[in-house]
């Protein structure tokens, strides 16, 4: 690798060396307790799929260029300079991790391993080796943010069609205004995804609850974050934040997308409005008596998959369980559960990549977990999880139905 490129890559690392990154990079003792806590390692037991194995790839280059021991005695810390092989190792490390942070739960020092892999992702972008799919999707989202006015009319036309579907769901006399847009001072700004289902069911629920809400022009998913491009990730997140500020809403509600929820809720610093997941809002409406659902409507055994960004990294555990216990006659808990729950293997943008074989293998602990419950239906509240669980179910021939939480509530509304 030529000197200029090495210098550029060194600068990329330097930019990422904030406070937590500095101590995360230094304090691992390689005790190995995280080794088998990753679903990918469980499915494919190789060092490169273990949390410590992944983080060590980043540490190798960090030590080489930023630690005196790495410069003077590279053997001491297994320091390694940039080369083709190392970049390949970084890619394998970064894009086999879903960012679920289950390993962080087991690390005696509380090291956030996916956070360290943020360096790997930025390095891959600078080197031009980041997954093209994610980069293109992030670019598309950035472009939409820059020229949203161009998209507005077309989007409004699509929404008109979706309003008719909402009308059917809630037996409304007219479809007009069922999906409001650009409504200043609304209580809620709802941020959906590009799929119609991500807007129709929440819209039905908001209307049933007589909520004062408005729909965002943007989709919640943040491909900049998945790709590891901090600049684009911030831009994409700020599209919605700025929209919410301009409209003066009190709360933004994020569709079933774990990362899209975690970013504004926990990673953007203080915001002048509340950030909630649609799951929390549904639970709130039921508790307040604003919507009613058909209790015991689901007769087959049901289990809940905690999306990592909603549960472990978001603290939303009890709300979906309470609702599912109402909806289902036979609710079954997975084991391990809640913060120890296994990741499905589809997060971190992995479902958008051409890696189905890897995802089926790395989904093995999830498959076993589901099978142990004996459930015939798995409910979740994250689009990535939904897609990945469907892949696992098909890949292993499990024959379980994967259902979206919001859709399930939307279909079982008493209107």
């Amino acid at each position: 690798m030529d000197k200029e490129k090495v210098l550029e890559l060194k600068q990329v690392i330097e930019k990422k060396l904030n406070r937590p990154m500095l101590y995360y990079l230094d304090l691992c003792t390689r005790c190995g307790l995280c080794y088998d806590t990753c679903h990918a390692y469980q499915g494919i037991p190789k060092k490169e799929y273990s949390p410590v194995g992944r983080a060590e790839v980043v540490r190798k280059v960090f030590r080489k260029y930023f630690r005196p021991t790495g410069k003077l005695f590279p053997w001491w810390g297994d320091a390694h300079e940039f080369d083709e092989n190392l970049m390949e190792e970084l890619r394998e490390a970064a894009f086999s991790c879903t960012g679920c942070r289950r390993c962080t739960m087991f690390c005696p020092f509380g090291i956030d391993m996916p956070y360290i892999l943020g360096i790997a992702k930025e390095l891959l972008i600078a080197y031009g080796n980041a997954p093209e799919e994610l980069v293109m999707l992030a670019d598309g989202a950035v472009e939409k943010g820059k020229s949203v006015d161009m998209f507005k009319e077309g989007f409004k036309g699509v929404i008109k069609d979706l309003e008719k579907e909402v009308q059917k769901l809630i037996n409304a006399p007219t479809s007009d205004g069922l999906i409001p847009m650009e409504k200043k001072g609304a209580n809620i700004l709802f941020v959906g995804l590009s799929g119609a289902h991500s807007i129709v069911y929440p819209a039905a629920i908001f209307n049933a609850a007589k909520e004062d809400w408005t729909l965002s022009y943007f989709e919640a998913v943040n491909f900049g974050f998945f790709a590891g491009d901090s600049e684009k990730a911030n831009f994409i997140a700020n599209r919605v934040i700025n929209e919410a500020k301009e409209l003066g809403v009190k709360e933004i509600v994020i569709v079933e997308c774990g990362t899209a929820y975690r970013i504004p809720k926990f990673l953007m610093g203080p915001l002048p409005f509340k950030v909630s997941s649609i799951v929390e809002v549904i639970h709130r409406y039921i508790k307040e008596g604003r919507i009613k659902i058909k209790e015991g409507a689901i007769t087959e055994p049901v289990t809940w998959h905690d999306p990592c960004q909603l549960g472990r990294n978001g603290g939303v555990y009890d709300q979906p369980r309470e609702v599912l216990n109402m909806l289902a006659k036979d609710y079954r808990e997975m084991n391990p559960t809640r913060e120890y729950n296994w990741c499905c293997g589809g997060g971190g943008g992995l479902v958008a990549l051409d890696n189905e074989e890897f995802r089926i293998k790395s989904g093995k602990p999830k498959k076993e977990q589901i099978e142990r419950t004996g459930a015939k239906m798995v409910v979740t509240a994250c689009e990535n999880c939904h897609l990945q669980l469907s892949t696992i179910s098909a890949g292993y021939g499990m024959g379980v139905t994967i259902e979206s939480f919001t859709k399930l509530v939307g279909e079982n509304l008493i209107v």
Binding site: R19, P20, T29, F106, P108, F109, M268, G314, G315
Partner: protein, 240 residues
């Protein structure tokens, strides 16, 4: 020549080691606290207990290790407690401290058992690294630190056990005041290595013990040993 080397190890190198340790750690903290703080939080849920007490609990009792590998948890707890007791024992080599005498004892609580415990646990950590999957993730630093620690404790324990229990120790038993004289002179920056130390029959063992201790202290800020300090920062972020 050997006399000069021994003197260097017992006097200038001790200063170098402590300065390296203190300045090294201060520099590390300076770099960390000067670095930008990212927006948001790295919290993991649920956040049980208070922020401060919780992070102390997470860092010092390591419940996540207990939940995962109970035997390993037991060994690391014993190792760290023994390490702490030896630290207190070395304080007693400098002066009397009433708080250490809560349990009345001669200097070095445990009568040598603590050192032996530390040797066994260090060897456990060392040999654990030769097994799968730990061998694959270990780097030379991991082995070197454990070896340095092992030799440091080994020579320290030989000194202690010989003086306390052997016939050889009974003949040449050293009054703790001899060590205190030397160590206090070091602290007062008026180093004095009297013949009472240099003429000890086990002087070589003492020199080797101090040599490995010096190396350990000098490596501390530049190695994974910083986990003992930085773990609190990482756990804090997890609970923020």
């Amino acid at each position: 020549m050997l006399g000069y080397i021994s003197y260097f190890i017992l006097v200038p190198m001790v200063y170098i080691a402590f300065v390296t340790l203190i300045v090294g750690l201060m520099y590390k903290f300076y770099v960390i606290f000067r670095a930008p703080v990212p927006a948001g939080t790295g919290a993991i849920f649920p956040k049980k207990g208070s922020k401060v007490l919780g992070l102390i609990y997470d860092a010092m009792i390591v419940p996540n290790v207990y939940n995962k590998q109970k035997v390993f948890w037991f060994i690391i707890m014993i190792f760290h407690i023994a390490f702490f007791l030896l630290f207190l024992g070395h304080l007693e080599l400098v002066d009397d401290f009433a708080f250490i005498q809560i349990i009345p004892h001669k200097i070095f609580l445990g009568g040598g058992v603590v050192g032996i415990t530390l040797i066994i646990t260090t060897l456990y950590f060392l040999f654990r690294r030769f097994g799968t999957p730990y061998r694959e993730i270990s780097i030379p630093e991991d082995f070197v630190i454990l070896l340095v620690l092992f030799f440091c404790i080994l020579f320290g324990s030989i000194l202690h056990l010989a003086e306390r229990y052997s016939d050889w120790g009974a003949v040449l038993r050293v009054n703790v005041d001899v060590y205190r004289e030397w160590l206090q002179s070091m602290i007062l920056l008026k180093p004095e290595l009297s013949y009472k130390i240099t003429e000890l029959s086990h002087y070589t063992i003492l020199v080797l013990h101090v040599l490995f201790a010096n190396i350990f202290l000098m490596m501390f800020p530049f190695s994974k040993m910083v986990h003992s300090v930085f773990t609190f920062l990482a756990h804090y972020r997890k609970r923020k």
